[in-house]
Amino acid sequence: MTDGPSSHTWLYRHTAATRLSHWITVLCLLVLVPSGLQIFNAHPTLYWGERSDPAHALFALRALETDNEEMRGVTEIWGHRLDTTGLLGVSTEDGERVARGFPAWATLPGAQWLAMGRRWHFFFAWIFVLNALTFGLYALLSRHLTRDLVPGGRDLAGLGASLRDHLRFRFPAGESRYNVLQKLAYLSVIVGLGPLVVLTGLTMSPWVDATLPLLPALFGGRQSARTVHFALTWALVGFTVMHVFMVAVTGVLNNLRGIVTGWARVRHHDGGVDG
């Protein structure tokens, strides 16, 4: 595998619509995640069902006082307790220990300020939704979705091999087309995580629930929807972490150039833009 410079060619990899929508999504997530944690902090406990019965919490970030009057942060998952002082439940703010779910550096605004957290969250939720709808429509009409993102039979046949390669940290770099794992990852965000995170968010709206009782029924209740919304957030964060990692290890400059200018260098021999 000693490809000389002559075996590379320039490919217009990402259209302007894809690039713009990508960076709007980045901006939205940078606001939605920390403002969501701010909102979560107003009641840092999760439940299943319609009600929030304190005795049946699934997950909670608590501040407990020990016998020697020390405040400890405790993360409670299904009744199991974990000391997370400094990060979850209790953290340090301006040199002082304070009781709060997520620490100040992870929330927007940093201080406990639910009203402003909601304003940031709902404003950028609208941008997120409008951007997603626009991109979805574009991807359908331009056939970006069916041509580049939906895996074909040949893709799926190579799934095992691709998985093995990735697990051995042998990543394809400079390919002109998405590999099957990329296709599945992007597709699951576009048609799975993205829509679900919006729907679970809407289910928390009592006004929406009155018109669309199907929504709370679908997620098992408003408190379940809140729990799923929280879990999906971390799934999206997890996706983003993996995505950034893959970008970094498969030629960070070339990848960034691609998503900023549209142009990327690809290997000549693998088919190019035959679409």
């Binding site: 550096w105 304003r119 009782p213």
Partner: protein, 256 residues
């Protein structure tokens, strides 16, 4: 110092994980303080309000549950006892001297005693109460339908909002108040509730009367109601945003 370094490293790693972009958040904190950024973000509320009102059925009912779905404990949030001398005197007499004043843009202003409120066409509903903080609790509410009260006093055509005046004074010394528009005021489930779970409303839940607006968040459902006032505009009342919490940055439209 070593400990401090360890803490910084851990923070750095967590930031790197994409948990939050701390420098950006710090910048956003400055933005949050800025009046015009708050103004732009406020536009989100107008969009939410407009879209939700347009795309949903105005008369849609909030889900009603069987009584078996009630919460064992219903949190008493906000004021749980107004504690003023006036209120204590009223409560001591079983609210015999309490009157609901109906005033403002109405044809026939009225002062109703509790038995008179109880004599109005009533409704009983077991509904989910959603707090802005994130929790939900279910209870059964019985109360006079707001629409029946409004029909009794006659709403003047220029009236656009129903303002609820309350007996509880907040830490700032201002009395709690709230407001809803006429779409919500005439909604079938909008009540002035005097019973909770089949018993007279407890003090922690707003005795003798609290508002129920089932499709909005808990802070809209003012407790310790003293007066219902019909107005054309909200900007002349208190800080002009239509409610105690609205004056402190929360949305007037609390359907989300």
């Amino acid at each position: 110092m070593a400990d401090r370094g360890g803490l910084d490293r851990r923070r750095f790693l967590l930031r790197g994980l994409g948990l939050a972009a701390a420098p950006l958040v710090a910048g956003c904190d400055r933005l949050s303080e800025s009046r015009w950024v708050a103004g732009i973000l406020r536009a989100g509320e107008a969009v939410t309000h407009g879209v939700q009102r347009t795309l949903t059925w105005r008369r849609a009912l909030a889900r009603e549950f069987p009584e078996s779905a009630r919460s064992a404990v219903f949190p008493g949030n906000g004021t749980t006892d107004p504690g003023t001398a006036d209120y204590q005197a009223l409560a001591a007499s079983g609210f015999a001297a309490w009157r609901l004043e109906v005033r403002g843009l109405v044809e026939r202003p009225a002062r109703l005693s509790l038995p008179e409120v109880r004599a109005l066409p009533a409704r009983t509903q077991t509904t989910r109460h959603d707090c802005v903080e994130g929790w939900s609790a279910i209870a059964t509410w019985t109360g006079a339908r707001m629409s029946a009260l409004l029909d009794r006093v006659g709403v003047r055509p220029e009236a656009r909002y129903v303002v609820i005046r309350c007996a509880d004074l907040m830490s700032s010394g201002e009395a709690y108040y709230e407001s809803i528009d006429l779409v919500d005021a005439y909604h079938e489930q909008t009540l002035l509730a005097y019973e909770m779970n089949g018993r007279p409303l407890p003090v922690a839940q707003g005795a003798p009367l609290r508002l129920r607006v089932e499709r909005q968040l808990g802070y809209k459902m003012a407790k310790y109601v003293l007066a219902v006032e019909l107005v054309e505009r909200l900007d002349g009342i208190a800080r002009g945003r239509g409610g105690y919490w609205e004056d402190r940055g929360y949305e007037w439209y609390a359907g989300i």
